[in-house]
Symmetry: C2
Subunit: 344 residues, 2 copies
DNA sequence: TTCAAACAGTTAACCGGTTAACAATATAGT
DNA sequence: ACTATATTGTTAACCGGTTAACTGTTTGAA
């Protein structure tokens, strides 16, 4: 209830000027050990906490890093992110683990209308931004000249090279996933994928799928290709469709675990056994893939590491004052559990 | 790259004082429509964005709401939260949905050492706090006098009444869950629970379990009680233990879905059928309960709603300037899926 | 001994807003 | 006609820090 102590209070209490207090706060060597001691004592005695707001106003650093999530008209974080949610939490956790130590906080915001991002960044004077998800191109044009380090996650688009990027080798992931199925003897391998047109991540994984088929002399067959939303329900619909149409597939590569789980549910619901009747491999390695039966074979992407790297990119820029754009591409790893078995 | 326009630039451009600009920014009726127009035009022309930092410094409102998560020594958000993660994302999403409209941002932080919370709140001048998880009591003593609205989520402890609270009827939830099993004809109903000693949530659900047994003339048997961490692995260990010891249980109430899933995995792994050999009901209604086979019967708690309510409590305090502590207790609902069936 | 540099500390302007107090003009009441 | 009261606007202090420029004292080198 009592007013918080300010730097003036400390100065008065220690019998010095505010400048001297500021110097000891910022570890600037301009004060004798004795005075420093006296000031430190006053600080402790008054329970003084410097105001980050004031500091920000005066030196322009907010020590705030923003995380942007695209949101839908309904005001929600979109299904993709929400359903993939383990994702979200782990990602934040990765970021937090590096920012916290350095005194930065993270600000989370879903922003809807196109240019509110810019407003947000400016009004809050964010020191850096991490952008998750797909946005209309115009946003990047706006945001490019803001002179703020920006990290794009999983962005392949051509303009993305204007920013820092963290991604994984999606093509390789698609390739390895498909190859795993091929090595198990499967010849008829379906693909469950989101919009290849709108999402580079999807199209890259699709490319990997095609490459694996080609390298192994398998033909690309359009009736093994299924496109729907990258959600549980999207996968579920694909599963139902495969069953309805009597698909010849003996295995399927789903570009996301959540889709794979949808497919599995569609099959199990009709009493059709997995992996006996259909081997299935996902992508992402979300926690629940390990918590279900059968355990989901998948391509691992280290989402926490993604967060860590993104945060470090920003902090590096901030300390070095540089602004060269780096791009880190992580390797996916095959994780074999029990949803894939050799072709009978 | 160009310097951002400040209020002074706008004032100069419109040929008025900064005070007038400030008045139109804050919708204070002290300016003729014509002047207002002129100022508005200048604002648009210069692409002016008021600095929230400066505003905060001058009027003391940061428009920042903090979300506290306890973290472990290793620096991670603790397993409970991470594994329960759909939880986390949905919760944030609920908060965001109300704060965004009102111009508040949310700041997320895991804080480890005891009193860093206080520092964080003060340094960032947070307008409100939402605290998730269990903390040492001393933290609340520290934080109580900060004159900041605080909402505790799922806190039963006696000191909790000094703050706003959002929780669900845990005792009722435990009761209804157990009653559901009893109504299916089960007599030997096991309980999988976390530390009843340390967590009121656990003890409340345990109370509900006991009440249901008692009301139905069933005896409380200690060898049907299993205590372990509220995690997948905790549940898994319990499942293994039940099998190893040849437990007579035909049904089990797990105080969290994530535990229930662990138990299910332990059973399925050994080829023992669920729900045929063991009916199981969880608690929380995490998304994956619906995405698995068998679908998990559970007690729903609307986590998004929890977030919404918590945010509204804070914003109400902020607008009304009052500080009376409210407590909202939500009702859990039984959601029957396929992991529970009548006793054969 | 003398002058320059190093040291320890202070003063005051500044960051970008808000707002109480004031001034000048217009409107209204009696 | 003469105040009292709105109305519209400005001035300047303030929020709580940072930091360039300055002052006064020591130290050291020539």
């Amino acid at each position: 209830m009592e007013k918080r102590a300010t730097i003036k209070d400390v100065a008065k209490h220690a019998g010095v000027s505010t400048a001297s207090v500021s110097y000891v706060l910022n570890d600037i060597d301009k004060v004798t050990p004795e005075t420093k001691m006296r000031i430190l004592n006053s600080i402790k005695e008054l329970g003084y906490q410097p105001s980050l707001t004031a500091r920000c106003l005066s030196n322009g650093e907010s020590r705030l890093i923003g995380i942007c999530l695209p949101i839908t008209e309904e005001g929600d974080i979109p299904g993709v992110l929400l359903e993939n949610n383990p994702f979200f939490g782990e990602f934040i956790s990765g970021i937090e683990s590096v920012t916290r130590k350095r005194g930065y906080d993270i600000l989370i915001s879903g922003v809807s209308s196109n240019n509110q991002y810019k407003d947000w960044i400016q009004q809050r004077k964010l020191d850096g931004i991490i952008m998750l998800g797909v946005y209309p191109r115009s946003i990047f044009e706006e945001v490019k000249n803001l002179n703020v380090p920006i990290v794009l996650i999983d962005a392949y688009e051509e303009y993305a090279s204007d920013f820092h990027r963290v991604m994984i080798k999606d093509e390789l992931g698609g390739y390895l996933a498909t190859k795993h199925l091929i090595e198990l003897g499967h010849k008829k391998i379906a693909l469950a994928v989101g919009s290849v047109l709108k999402s580079y991540v999807n199209s890259q994984r699709f490319e990997g799928y095609k490459r694996a088929l080609k390298e192994n002399g398998l033909e690309l067959s359009t009736n093994l290709l299924f496109e729907d939303n990258v959600t549980f329900n999207g996968g579920y619909r694909i599963g139902k469709e495969m069953l309805r149409s009597g698909s010849e597939a003996t295995a399927v590569f789903a570009v996301a675990d959540i889709m794979a789980i949808g497919i599995i549910n569609a099959y199990l619901e009709e009493g059709i056994k997995i992996p006996e009747k259909l081997s299935i491999i996902g992508f992402d390695n979300i926690k629940f893939g390990n918590y279900m039966v059968p355990g989901l074979t998948t391509m691992n992407q280290d989402i926490m590491e993604k967060g860590r790297i993104a945060a470090e990119m920003i902090l590096d820029d901030l300390t070095k004052g540089s602004r060269s754009n780096h791009s880190v591409t992580l390797d996916p790893q095959l994780i074999v559990r029990s949803s894939t078995i050799p072709l009978a």
